[in-house]
């Protein structure tokens, strides 16, 4: 673990580009840290103000203490020269000089990013969860941003599919944001996934760091799926980064009337690959070989009433229990029993109180 590099990355005003240039001049990060003020000024890589900031920061920081704190928090790091640095990420225009990570090393063969609106609809969350799960089953790592809504659903889906999921944070890994995702982040680490950040521990989640984080999500993924995005969603920024780096952009079509789908439908109109399931992504990269044998849909074994209720719960549009009751003519007890049994078998899910949606299983 390169504590000197970790310490360098924490300096205000030093980006990946500058750090790489400085280490090219001095040889190693440790040499940069120990270099005299004059020799740093002589490189002319830093403006006077940045130089003063850096020297101030260097005086106040003890790289060994920082390394100790990281060790205790279970945070490790790798530089762009290390084996464990994700190879895909090295190819982008401005890769981070150092990556902090928690959990498994960020190395995998196949990876797909899933991004979308924080304020997701039941349809969007359901789709993200499903895609995450299917990609996990196909041994593809799912990269996302750990935000509310689509991001969380994608991570959860991937964990359900027993796959590797990568959360790219816009803050130091000793923090949790949003706070309600504490449990999710713990699960990701426990179940073989990785939390990644270019920011050293202790960095708060500031607004400007999120677009920068989006470039890492795009950079770490072979392709990027936008599940649900409103008119000015941050997911569209991620899609732009992906296009700039030459990654494929997939978009899941949304309801044309829904404000949450305006952005994603515009992506399709401007040429993104329309994605209606994990198979669309897998076939694009030829990752679906050898999986053909499995029949996609098995007819679920349901009783007459369960079948009837199951038909009411269309995928994408929720059905309310009151509507089902009135349209099917079933007795309350019959309906509630059928709904519960379908939930227990995993065919439907209660997306909001009294509203049911198919899970897409079978």
């Amino acid at each position: 673990m390169n504590i000197w590099m970790a310490a360098l990355s924490g300096s205000p005003g030093l980006g990946g580009k500058t750090i790489r240039a400085l280490t090219a001049v001095f040889g190693t990060a440790e040499a940069v840290w120990r270099a005299s003020a004059e020799s740093i000024r002589e490189t002319r890589l830093l403006s006077e103000k940045k130089c003063v900031d850096f020297l101030d920061y260097r005086r106040q920081t003890d790289p060994h203490a920082m390394g100790e704190a990281m060790f205790r928090a279970g945070i490790r790091c790798c530089t762009w020269k290390d084996e464990s640095y994700p190879s895909l990420l090295k190819t982008i225009a401005n890769p981070p000089a150092i990556l902090f990570y928690k959990g498994e090393a960020p190395l995998w063969e196949k990876s797909i990013g899933i991004v979308g609106a924080r304020k997701s609809t039941a349809y969007g969350a359901q789709t993200a969860r499903r895609l995450g799960e299917e990609l996990a089953r196909a041994d593809v790592a799912v990269v996302s941003g750990g935000a509310r809504g689509i991001d969380s659903a994608a991570h959860e889906g991937c964990l359900t599919g027993k796959g590797r999921t990568v959360m790219v944070a816009a803050f130091g890994l000793d923090l949790v944001y949003p706070p309600e995702n504490r449990r999710l982040f713990c699960r990701i680490v426990e179940e073989g996934g990785t939390l990644v950040s270019e920011y050293p521990p202790g960095t708060p989640p500031l607004g400007r760091q999120f677009p920068a984080r989006n470039r890492i999500i795009a950079g770490m993924s072979r392709g990027l799926v936008v599940v649900e995005a409103g008119n000015r969603s941050g997911a569209l920024i991620t899609a732009d980064f992906a296009l700039e780096e030459g990654r494929d952009v997939f978009a899941v079509p949304g309801n044309i009337w829904s404000a949450e789908s305006v952005g994603v439908n515009r992506l399709i109109r401007s040429g993104a690959i329309c994605c209606t399931g994990a198979s669309d992504i897998l076939s694009e990269y030829g990752w679906d070989k050898g999986k053909e044998g499995e029949s996609e849909s098995t007819v679920p074994e349901l009783t007459g009433e369960e079948e009837l209720v199951y038909r009411f719960c269309c995928i994408g549009d929720e059905a309310s229990d009151e509507d089902m009751l009135q349209q099917s003519g079933l007795a309350v007890t019959k309906l509630t029993e059928a709904l519960l049994r379908l939930q227990l078998k995993g065919y439907i899910r209660e997306s909001a109180p009294g509203r049911f949606i198919r899970t897409g299983k079978a």
Binding site: K119, E180, D321, E322, A352
Partner: protein
């Protein structure tokens, strides 16, 4: 010259017999009342003086001392005017002492001498009867209320003069007779008027059957209030003891509007600006609050998250113990508070979360904050969580009547009978009162029910705390079904009423 007469006052919900002693001495004219009189009693001096004069008697020009015994009990209210006046007349020799003994006088006096009604006459009469008195004098407008108590003789003279003449034997006054109201007042609302809302109505039926607390959540205009108002129409009628108890509470609180015993169960819906003291009772002499006024009936809290957190937190004790203990400097009282809590709320601040026709404009955080206003311990005491949907146009205009209250009431009554029979050895009436032990002993699941319950707990991640609640509701559903053992269908329905609110799982 000394005389005494009996009066009454109320303390909490109970009446207390007060001995009014009057002594007239030859000394400078002073009128003193001793024995912890509150302001209203102290002021009775002036009313009594004028009333006696204006009734054509002489007010003694001497030192008058009135003592109210027992002297350590704080006496409140204007009901002691009449016994003080009668005592004075007796002490002055206008009426013989024998004529006023073994009688209780309850009433306020006007300056002209008319006898006015006071609140709490029923409680006072009951206390008097217990003390062995059987003759009561009160205002003619509340004789019916006093007569709700059996085995007493009640007279309603219209003024002090008539009372005195009667006591002297100069005029005859027949004892009042009860004017039975023609019949129990028919409720003006009915569940038949609620179109659609089958699930919500079903939940109300279960709540009424097992006396379970309910939380309804739904968009504005979905009929939450309409449903809540109708639950009293399906609750079983009160027994005579219950009715008497409730009437007594209303009488003491001065809220008794009819002369008759209350037949319908109370329905209280305090506004969300209610104070803690207004909700559970309070004041320097603690008065009954909304929870006590809802005794044996329904307490409806609309817009639950808008209630101050402090007010909701004090509800926990009455929900658990079915009574409230209020301690103040002057008194420490226990009021009954055995009610069914029906609460209603919007699912989110804008009201449209989960609605199919309106987009919800709240963020996840907004909804979480809104829902968190209700404390977990309060939610733990709510057995049924129902989401109410907005009815469609077709349902509103449908000519088909929904299930009328009478049909639902029949099922509820049958279910209640089963419960009372089963729980009689623990002195309980309904499933909601069951503790862990009763649940263990009386709620037997059949094999299929046990299986589905285990699966539910594993797959839907229910907490251990929700276990008893779920079983109790399942027990009530089974009772409505007339089943001895809890079957899978009953468990399934109970599970659908669990708490599924965002950020507050079970």
């Amino acid at each position: 010259m000394f005389a005494q007469a009996l009066g009454t006052t109320t303390f909490g919900l109970n009446g207390h017999v007060i001995t009014v002693e009057v002594d007239i001495n030859r000394a400078a004219p002073v009128f003193d009342i001793v024995g912890l009189p509150a302001t209203a009693v102290r002021e009775s001096k002036e009313r009594v003086r004028s009333a006696i004069k204006n009734s054509g008697y002489d007010f003694p020009v001497a030192r008058v001392t009135v003592n109210l015994a027992p002297a350590d009990l704080k006496k409140d209210g204007s009901g002691l005017d009449l016994p003080i006046a009668v005592g004075l007349l007796a002490a002055g020799g206008a009426i013989p002492q024998e004529a006023v003994s073994r009688s209780i006088f309850m009433g306020e006096l006007s300056l002209k001498g008319e006898i006015r009604p006071v609140p709490g006459v029923l409680a006072m009469t009951l206390a008097g009867r217990e003390a062995g008195v059987s003759r009561f004098f009160t205002s003619p407008s509340v004789t019916d209320e006093a007569l709700l108590c059996d085995g007493v003789e009640v007279y309603g003279p219209k003024d002090l003069r008539e009372l005195a003449e009667f006591l002297l034997g100069h005029v005859s006054l027949p004892p009042s007779e009860r004017h039975e109201s023609a019949q129990a007042v028919m409720s003006d609302v009915d569940f038949g008027e609620v179109q659609g809302q089958i699930l919500a109505k079903r939940a109300m039926e279960i709540a009424a059957a097992g006396s379970h607390n309910v939380l309804m959540s739904g968009p504005p205009g979905s009929g939450k209030t309409m449903l809540a108002r109708r639950i009293t129409t399906v609750l079983p009628p009160m027994t005579r003891e219950e009715a008497l108890e409730v009437t007594k509470i209303y009488s003491v609180a001065g809220l008794l509007k009819t002369k008759d015993i209350l037949h319908t169960r109370p329905f209280r819906s305090p506004h969300h600006t209610v104070s803690v003291a207004g909700l559970i009772g309070g004041g320097s002499m603690p008065r009954p609050g909304e929870v006590t006024l809802a005794h044996k009936g329904v307490l409806f809290l609309d817009e639950l998250p808008e209630f101050p957190r402090s007010a909701l937190d004090v509800l926990r004790q009455p929900l658990e113990d079915r009574e409230v203990h209020i301690s103040r400097v002057n008194a420490s009282l226990t009021y009954p508070a055995d009610f069914v809590l029906i609460a209603a709320m919007n699912p989110c601040p804008c009201g449209y979360y989960g609605d199919s026709d309106h987009a919800c404009t709240c963020s996840d955080g907004d909804i979480r904050r809104y829902v968190r206003k209700i404390s977990g311990p309060l939610l733990d005491r709510i057995d049924l969580h129902v989401s109410v949907k907005r009815p469609k146009y077709g349902e509103l205009t449908a000519t088909v009547q929904g299930t009328p209250s009478a049909d639902m009431a029949k099922k509820v009554a049958a279910a209640r009978r089963r419960q009372a029979e089963r729980l009689s050895k623990w002195n309980m009436q309904c499933n909601a009162q069951m503790g862990h032990r009763q649940v263990k002993e009386t709620c037997i699941l059949d094999q299929e029910g046990t299986d589905i319950l285990r699966e539910v707990f594993e797959k839907l991640h229910l907490s251990a705390r929700s276990y008893d609640r779920l079983i109790k509701v399942a027990r009530t559903v089974a009772d409505l079904d007339g089943a001895d053992n809890i079957k899978a269908v009953h468990v399934a329905e109970a599970v659908s009423y669990r708490n599924r609110m965002l950020g507050r799982s079970t």
